[in-house]
Amino acid sequence: MKKIAESVKQMLPTLTPLEAPEGMTKEEMTEIFYKMSLIREFDSSVKDLWMAGEIYGLAHSYVGAEAIGVGACMNLEKTDFISSTHRGHGHTIAKGGDVKAMMAELYGKYEGSNKGKGGSMHIADIGIGMLGATGIVGSGMPTAVGAALTSDVLDNGSVAVCFHGDGGTNQGVWHESMNLAAAWNLPCIFLTENNHLAIKTKLNESSKETELYKRAIGYGIEGIAIDGFNVFEVYKTMKYAVEKARNGGGPTLVEARFVRILGHFVADDQKYRDPQEEIDAWTADPVRRIKEYLYTRTDMFTQEEVDQIAADARAKVDEAIEYARHECTEPPADSLYTDIYANNEVIL
């Protein structure tokens, strides 16, 4: 296995070795690696396509965070919910989203998941419980609390996961969401994607206490810090938190620590950052970590098999690009006024 840079180890004292959960099947591992690869390929392409001018607006990449979205969502049913951030592609894919519809959306096409009306920052798939990306930091947090409230009122057993960044934890609604979910003992898990940056602002510039899981104490709930580059650790921790929530144990705050590898948005050149940081961070690449693990540390996979899974993911994304480019259509002008109100009621 490649070695993780010392500087990353210092930044992330939570870094832990990969170790598959006991009894995890080959299928499950395949799904994990496939989805992580799909996110990696999807968002790598999105960056290129944006630079090439095929995709526009603001797009934020989930590259580097794949272990978190996938490790978390592997524990969720289709009837469970997640709320998202400005970085929603990875969450959508992890929750089972269709990359063709997603790519079509980024191309602004009518066949897109949002009919071309949302784009990257609002990518959504309500049918599978993905409650939508939002471009306003914090705004999606109470959405998850609301989904958990629905579960509580209807007693339908579903749980909600609130994805958010470290920067997002400074929003007032984060506090209100945490407190509300705790006070009402709702089945809501708060998952902080702590990449130690909010655009150009470092975590320790915006928060005196950078061990964010400690904030859980103030709400009387459990807080856990984990290695966000380690998909199995995310999986295990979230399995615990999800089961707890499903069994009436209320919310948990999980702080998944990692390092932002790429820029804040797809065209960010990160000039404000020490270039070595990015180079070092790649050594902890979560996709490479799981990939190498599968064929070196389990006896379930050959290297060829693993390469094939990665290739399948790549092919899937290529197919999605082809689809978006050539098989989809521009939204008709008269779709402008639909979807504002239910049943396409139009109020001029």
């Binding site: 919910f81 709320s83 897109g112 998941s113 949002n114 009919k115 071309g116 009306k117 949302g118 609002h122 959504a124 798939d125 309500i126 049918g127 409650l131 939508g132 939002t134 306003i136 705004s139 999606g140 947090m141 109470p142 959405t143 998850a144 609390v145 609301g146 989904a147 958990a148 409230l149 629905t150 579960s151 509580d152 009122v153 209807l154 909600a160 007032g172 609604v173 506090h175 209100e176 969401s177 407190n179 509300l180 006070a183 009402w184 639909t338 979807d339 504002i340 109100y341 239910a342 049943n343 396409n344 009621e345 109020i347």
Partner: protein, 325 residues
């Protein structure tokens, strides 16, 4: 028909809808013991603590929870105790509730009601007296209503709860004791249908909420002076029933728009501009408007009373609008 008050009408609407539909729930500061205005009295006992929830003081958080709940299968009613404080949670209303359906390509439902007492009076000063409905009329994706009779407030709250869109439901905080006839049994009052409260021939007064009450008493006094006013209570502002407004203006040739919100930036300007676009030629005189003075509401009772339109200032404005006749 029973005579009940506005508060009771609201309470009945909530009770009936919660009885009919187990997905209806309500939350807000102190709503479990009945709410600060007593609108939710008795609901906790009947529907239990899961569906009748006092919230922490977290307006953005619980409004946002309402958004999330509405997106996932409930029909939540969120109470914001004074509408001035909607400023705290307007991100959730404007950028989430109103836009989600559109941003997500029509694939989400948003049956959310935001109930909020508005209007001035009683010396509660600048942070407890505002009427900010114009803000929300500016936001596509929302519906906005301002019923003022017990009949309307009951029927329209039911309509709002059953509507699959986010509805801003403004109750007038001085109206809770207002009495009126309310029929037994289920009925709804649709959005976008104004009520002609008084028929007249000289001028159309377009108004809503408490000003509709004042406009009627002003109109009665004006009738004694031989001036015949048609009083239109809009009831819902978004959608707004321009058909009824224009039909009336076709008859009277003159119009005065009255609202309790501050004049500048109130919806009066918007209504006048729309009237002009729809029927400039129907007008025999410049369309006029009356609203609160552009002043943060002062505490002192005397100053306060100078700010808000009342029977006398409405009568004055009508006469001014008719002065060239």
């Amino acid at each position: 028909m029973a005579i009940i008050n506005y508060r009771q009408a609201l309470n009945d609407a909530l009770r009936e809808e919660m009885t009919e539909d187990p997905t209806v729930m309500i939350m807000g500061c102190d709503v479990a013991p009945g709410g600060s205005f007593g609108v939710t009295l008795g609901l906790l006992d009947e529907f239990g603590p899961k569906r009748v929830r006092s919230t922490p003081i977290s307006e953005p958080g619980f409004t946002g929870a309402g958004v999330g709940a509405a997106a996932t299968g409930l029909r939540p009613i969120v109470e914001i105790l004074y509408s001035d404080w909607i400023t705290m949670c307007s991100d959730q209303i404007v950028n989430m509730a109103a836009k989600m359906r559109y941003m997500f390509g029509g694939k989400v439902n948003m049956p959310l009601v935001i109930r909020s007492p508005f209007g001035a009076g009683g010396g509660v000063a600048a942070q407890h007296s505002q009427s900010l409905e114009a803000w929300f009329n500016h936001i596509p994706g929302l519906k906005v209503c301002t019923p003022i009779t017990p009949y309307d407030v009951k029927g329209m709250l039911k309509e709002a709860i059953r509507d699959n869109n986010p509805v801003m439901f403004f109750e007038h905080k001085r109206a809770y004791q207002l009495k009126g006839e309310v029929p037994e049994g289920d009925y709804t009052v649709p959005f976008g249908k104004a009520a002609v409260r008084m028929e007249g021939t000289d001028i159309t007064i377009v108004t809503y909420s408490m000003m509709a009450v004042y406009a009627q008493s002003a109109a009665k006094k004006l009738a004694e002076e031989g001036i015949s006013c048609e009083v239109i209570d809009l009831r819902s502002l978004l959608p707004l029933d321009y058909d009824t407004v224009m039909a009336s203006i076709a008859k009277t040739g003159r119009v005065l728009v009255v609202h309790e919100a501050m004049l500048r930036g109130g919806i009066g300007g918007d209504i006048i501009a729309e009237i002009i676009e729809r029927g400039f030629d129907l007008l025999d005189a410049p369309p006029a408007r009356l609203g609160a003075l552009n002043v943060p509401l002062p505490y002192n009772a005397g100053l306060e009373s100078l700010c808000i339109p009342n029977e006398a200032t409405i009568m004055e404005a009508v006469k001014k609008a008719l002065s060239d006749k």
